[in-house]
C-alpha cells in the first residue's frame, strides 16, 4: 500500500490537478479570541488565538477535555463559538453553517452512512452540492484510485474492516476538495501496526495534495510524526505552538513538558550565572533561561562506568534497566532523586542494575522552563 504511494513529483502534480479540478490554493485559518462554554461552568475554550498556515499539517494536541475537539468542531461549524471570530481562507465563517463551509471532517467513528454503499458514501457530499451524476462518478473513481481503494467501492459499509473504513472516511472527505481537512483522532480506533502504516499514508496524501490538514490527537508521538506544527492545549487555553522539535525540546512550561513525555523535571533552588542548584546537584547550562524548572531529556544523558569527576558529572546508581534492543532505558538514583536516562545500544557495555555509574550531560542540552 505504501510503496505504491511513492510517486515522483510529476506524477504527484498530475494526480493533484486531476483530483483538484480548480487547482484551488490551500487555505489558511485565522482564529481570534474563541470562547466556548458548555452549560454554566464547563469552559471548553477560553480565548483561543491561533493562525494555521495554508498547506500546513497542523496538530491540536492535548489530554481529553482540553478543548481540542471543541476547537475542531468550531472549525467544522458543528459547534458555534460563544464569542470570537473565525476566518478560513480570508473569509469570515464564524456564523456560516457547516453545509456551507468548504471544510470536511474525518470523524473518529468514521460516521459512514450505513444505509449507503461505499460508492454512495463517497459521492454523498458531491451529490448534496448538486454535481451531475457523470461528473460525480468520475470524481469518485479518481479519489478511489488516489487513495487506492481498489474494489472496496463496491462493498457494503458493514463489510469493511476498521482500517478500510478509515480510508473510506478519508476519501469521502477528500473527494469534496475542501479548503481545509479536519481529522478528529482518525487513527485512535486502530491497532498499533495499522496505525503507523496509516500515519505514513496520511502524511503522504497531505504532502501530495498540499491541502491544509488540522489533526486532533492526544498521542504526542503521533503528533510529532505527522505535524508541521503542533499546538498544545490544556484547559481551553493554548499552551504552546511550534514545530514538533521546538515543542519537544523547548517546552514552555511543566504541563507541555510532561505531556510531551518528559519526567526529568527538577526545581532550580538557586542560580548564579549559568550555575544551577537542583536536587541532583550543581549543573552548568549553556543558556539557562529564567525558568524555575530544569528539564533534562533522557536521551541527552550519557553513562560512564564507575565514578568519574568533572563538570556536569553526577554519581548515580542503576535502580532499574529496561533493555529495548535498540536502546536501554534506565532509572537512576542520584542521591535521593531519581533520573531517567535512555542510552543507545552501540555495542558498548550497558551498565546493569546496581552498578555505580556517572551520568554526564552537555551544558547545551539543559533548558529551564516555567512551572
Amino acid at each position: 500500500m505504501t510503496d505504491t504511494l511513492t510517486a515522483d513529483v510529476a506524477d504527484t502534480r498530475m494526480v493533484r490537478s486531476a483530483t483538484v479540478e480548480s487547482a484551488r490554493e490551500a487555505s489558511s485559518i485565522e482564529m481570534q479570541r474563541l470562547h466556548k462554554r458548555f452549560g454554566r461552568d464547563t469552559v471548553a475554550l477560553d480565548g483561543v488565538d491561533l493562525t494555521i498556515r495554508a498547506g500546513e499539517f497542523f496538530t491540536l494536541l492535548g489530554p481529553s477535555g482540553c478543548g481540542k475537539t471543541t476547537l475542531l468542531r468550531i472549525l467544522a461549524g458543528l459547534e458555534e463559538a460563544d464569542d470570537g471570530r473565525l476566518a478560513i481562507g480570508g473569509r469570515d465563517v464564524t456564523e456560516v453553517p457547516p453545509h456551507r463551509r468548504s471544510v470536511n471532517t474525518v470523524f473518529q467513528s468514521y460516521a459512514l452512512f450505513p444505509h449507503l454503499s461505499v460508492r454512495e458514501n463517497l459521492a454523498f457530499g458531491l451529490k448534496m452540492r448538486g454535481m451531475p451524476p457523470e461528473e460525480r462518478e468520475a470524481r469518485v473513481a479518481k479519489i478511489a484510485e488516489f487513495i487506492q481503494l481498489g474494489d472496496l467501492v463496491d462493498r457494503r459499509v458493514d463489510q469493511l474492516s476498521g482500517g478500510q473504513r478509515q480510508r473510506i472516511a478519508l476519501a469521502r472527505a477528500l473527494v469534496n476538495e475542501p479548503d481545509v481537512l479536519l481529522l478528529d483522532e482518525p487513527l485512535s480506533a486502530l491497532d498499533a501496526g495499522l496505525r503507523s502504516q496509516l500515519q505514513v499514508e496520511l502524511l503522504r496524501v497531505q504532502k501530495r495534495l498540499g491541502m491544509t490538514f488540522v489533526f486532533v490527537t492526544h498521542d504526542q508521538q503521533e503528533a510529532m510524526v505527522m505535524s508541521d506544527r503542533i499546538a498544545v492545549l490544556n484547559g481551553g487555553v493554548i499552551q504552546q505552538v511550534g514545530p514538533p522539535r521546538e515543542v519537544y525540546e523547548h517546552p514552555v512550561n511543566a504541563f507541555v513538558a510532561r505531556f510531551m513525555g518528559h519526567d526529568n523535571l527538577y526545581p532550580v533552588t538557586a542560580r548564579s550565572g549559568s550555575r544551577l542548584s537542583t536536587p541532583l546537584g550543581e549543573l552548568t547550562a549553556e543558556q539557562p533561561g529564567k525558568g524555575g524548572l530544569l528539564l533534562i531529556r533522557p536521551e541527552t544523558l550519557d553513562l560512564l562506568p564507575g565514578e568519574v569527576a568533572g563538570d556536569n558529572h553526577l554519581p548515580a546508581t542503576v535502580a532499574e534497566r529496561l533493555y529495548r534492543g535498540s536502546h536501554a532505558e534506565y532509572r537512576l538514583e542520584v542521591g535521593e532523586t531519581t533520573l531517567q536516562a535512555t542510552v543507545n545500544n552501540r555495542g558498548r557495555q550497558l551498565p546493569e542494575r546496581g552498578d555505580r555509574v556517572t551520568v554526564t550531560v552537555a551544558p547545551g542540552d539543559l533548558v529551564t522552563l516555567s512551572e
Partner: protein, 265 residues
C-alpha cells in the same frame, strides 16, 4: 437423570400450552369450512360461507371501513409519531419527563376508559358545535391517539441506535436541513418507518373497544360487525370473515417482523 425428566416435562407443557393458544383460532378456521351451519359438529368441507361473505354488503362495507380507518390513521400517526420520536431523540438531554408521561398515557390507560372518554367528549363537542359527529373521522382521531406512542417509541429507539456523528457527517458533507431529512434521516430510519406503519396498522385492525365507542351508525368496522353478529346469534359467516382476518393480521405481523429484524445491530 432428574434434569432430563424436568426437560421432558417442560417440553410436554410447552406443546400443551401451544395447543391451548392455537385451539380457539383453529376452531374458527376449521368451522369456516364447515358444510353445515352447526357450531358443534363438522360435517364436511365447503366454501359456502366465503361465497356468502361476498354477497353481504354489510360485511363488505365494514371491511372497507376497517381498511380506510387502518390506513388513514396509520399514515397520520406515522407523520406525527415520527416528529415526536425525532424530537425526543434530538432533545434527549433535556428534561422531557412531561412528554414521556404524555406519550405513555395512551398506552397505560385502560381501553374502556380511553373509549368512553373519547365518546363522551365527541358527543359533547358535537352537541355544542356540530363538529365531530361520531363516524369514521372520530374513529380515525381515536386510533391515531393510541398509535402515536408506538410510532414515536419505535422511531426514537432507531435514532438512539445510530452513531450520533452520522448527523454531523451529513451536515459536514454539505447537506442542507431539508436534504438531511430526505437523503440521510428518512433512508436511515426506513426499516423503523415500515415496521411502525405495520404495527399501527395491526393495532388499528385489532382494536375493538375504542372503535366500538367512537363509531357512528354508518361506520362499523369488521370487529364491530362481528361483535354485533355474535350478539345477535352466532352465524357461521363469522367464522369465515374471522379466518380471513386471522390470515391478514398474521401476514402483516410477519412482514413487520421481517423488517424490524433487518435492522443492523
Amino acid at each position: 437423570m432428574r434434569k432430563r425428566t424436568l426437560r421432558r416435562g417442560l417440553t410436554a407443557f410447552w406443546w400443551f400450552t401451544l395447543a391451548f393458544l392455537y385451539l380457539p383460532l383453529a376452531v374458527v378456521v376449521l368451522f369456516s369450512f364447515n358444510a353445515s351451519n352447526s357450531a358443534a359438529s363438522f360435517t364436511g368441507i365447503s366454501l359456502r360461507w366465503y361465497y356468502r361473505l361476498l354477497g353481504n354488503e354489510e360485511i363488505l362495507s365494514a371491511f372497507a371501513n376497517s381498511m380506510v380507518l387502518a390506513i388513514v390513521s396509520s399514515v397520520i400517526a406515522l407523520v406525527i409519531g415520527c416528529l415526536i420520536g425525532y424530537g425526543m431523540y434530538r432533545h434527549r438531554h433535556r428534561k422531557l419527563g412531561w412528554l414521556i408521561v404524555l406519550i405513555y398515557l395512551p398506552i397505560v390507560l385502560p381501553d374502556i376508559v380511553f373509549g368512553i372518554s373519547e365518546m363522551a367528549f365527541f358527543v359533547q363537542v358535537h352537541r355544542l358545535t356540530g363538529l365531530l359527529q361520531p363516524g369514521l373521522p372520530t374513529m380515525i382521531i381515536a386510533h391515531v391517539t393510541f398509535q402515536i406512542p408506538f410510532v414515536a417509541l419505535i422511531i426514537y429507539s432507531r435514532f438512539v441506535g445510530l452513531d450520533p456523528t452520522l448527523f454531523e457527517a451529513a451536515k459536514d458533507l454539505y447537506a442542507t436541513p431539508a436534504k438531511r431529512v430526505v437523503h440521510f434521516m428518512l433512508p436511515t430510519i426506513k426499516p423503523a418507518l415500515i415496521s411502525a406503519f405495520f404495527l399501527s396498522f395491526t393495532l388499528s385492525i385489532d382494536d375493538f373497544v375504542i372503535s366500538f365507542f367512537t363509531a357512528g351508525p354508518e361506520s362499523a368496522t369488521l370487529p364491530i360487525y362481528i361483535w354485533g353478529a355474535i350478539k345477535k346469534g352466532v352465524s357461521p359467516e363469522i367464522n369465515a370473515i374471522a379466518t380471513l382476518m386471522i390470515g391478514a393480521v398474521a401476514i402483516a405481523a410477519i412482514i413487520s417482523l421481517v423488517f424490524s429484524r433487518r435492522r443492523p445491530a
